[in-house]
Symmetry: C2
Subunit: 214 residues, 2 copies
């Protein structure tokens, strides 16, 4: 059945692949599933037709026949459970990979998104510099643990999985912050993710949307 | 096979059921699975044996034979997929319930946890009052959408699911903040969750740990 996802008509990141459709596109490329994209303006995202798909008025959503999903984590999990390539067959290894998916979204991403948001909303506040240091410390606390776990391994737990796909997607948000440079193994890990053909295809496709809209 | 989870030996919330083992206990009670609890000191959580189960040195973890999981979301999903009672059988409804699980952890929880953490780390800062208002606004933004979606319904999408279990668990963190009182339907929703026998059993069990340690 045909798959349709939603994405920003005008991505706020200017085609850097940081919007949440990027992980979904990447997952679909990894498992070789074609998909259509319905682009939404910021206004349309908040209106009733899209709210019926996504109660919080965000992108991406996923439609496939009667199946209608929201939240990129849920969408990527669904893709990974439906098609081979993103989760190990072995039940024990699969459980670990799914743990890493939640770790990326629940443990590593929140302090990173928090910093990103503060750069918009608090840049002119007198406390910005002091708060920035506190936020950076929280991020380093997570990256320290992640870097120690990864060590010299290629991926987080054996073969590349949806856990790696989400973790690389989350870590890419730090590229312009410079915070990742203290961890050469995490930089190499992100680069390995970005070098995958499926990532490259997905990145080119979201960049084309930006190029057409600008 | 026997299930063992980990929890705080001395819960920082003084038995209010806000630590992340609470949702896992609740899920296990909903599906009628007995489990053992291994209590960990804050020091033990950061040491190598526990780090091998949980790379970020947190609780809870889940062990069942060779299966070893971390992240409460991943653990609850595994319980819900292994046993009937927490996810609909219908594939379309199941997809929605899993979307709500991710929405609870990825969209609703981060601004709530952020506020909770700022109450510890920024209470003495000159900017605390102004920042608190900004954080409250972010939380209200999410609660507005959630309250509109819920309306007069009993649960988020049909029958009670793991999505409701996680959403109620997240919203309970707001009890002492007073932020929930603006949404009578969300207050009633949380109360419905707390009234479930499985919640009551799980709550009593985590409270017993606090009572014994104090």
């Amino acid at each position: 059945m045909a798959i349709t996802i939603t994405a920003f008509a005008q991505s706020p990141d200017r085609g850097r692949g940081l919007a949440r459709d990027m992980g979904v596109r990447w997952a679909l490329e990894e498992v070789g599933q074609p998909y259509a994209v319905r682009l939404l303006s910021f206004a349309a995202m908040k209106e009733a037709p899209h709210r019926s798909l996504h109660p919080f008025g965000q992108i991406p959503t996923y439609e496939e026949g009667d199946l209608r999903l929201f939240e990129s984590g849920a969408i990527i999990l669904n893709i990974a459970q439906q098609h081979p390539g993103l989760l190990p067959n072995d039940e024990v290894a699969r459980g670990r990979a799914i743990s890493w998916m939640f770790a990326a979204l629940s443990t590593v991403e929140p302090p990173i998104l928090h910093r990103e948001s503060a750069l918009f909303t608090e840049r002119d506040k007198p406390w910005h510099v002091e708060r920035l240091q506190m936020m950076d410390d929280q991020i380093h606390h997570r990256l320290d643990a992640l870097s120690k776990h990864l060590g010299d391994a290629e991926w987080l737990d054996g073969a590349f999985s949806a856990g790696d796909l989400l973790m690389v997607t989350v870590l890419r948000r730090l590229t312009t912050s410079g915070l990742l440079t203290a961890y050469p193994n995490l930089c190499a890990y992100v680069a390995r993710g970005e070098a995958r053909p499926a990532f490259q295809h997905a990145f080119a496709d979201q960049l084309a949307v930006f190029a057409q809209s600008s």
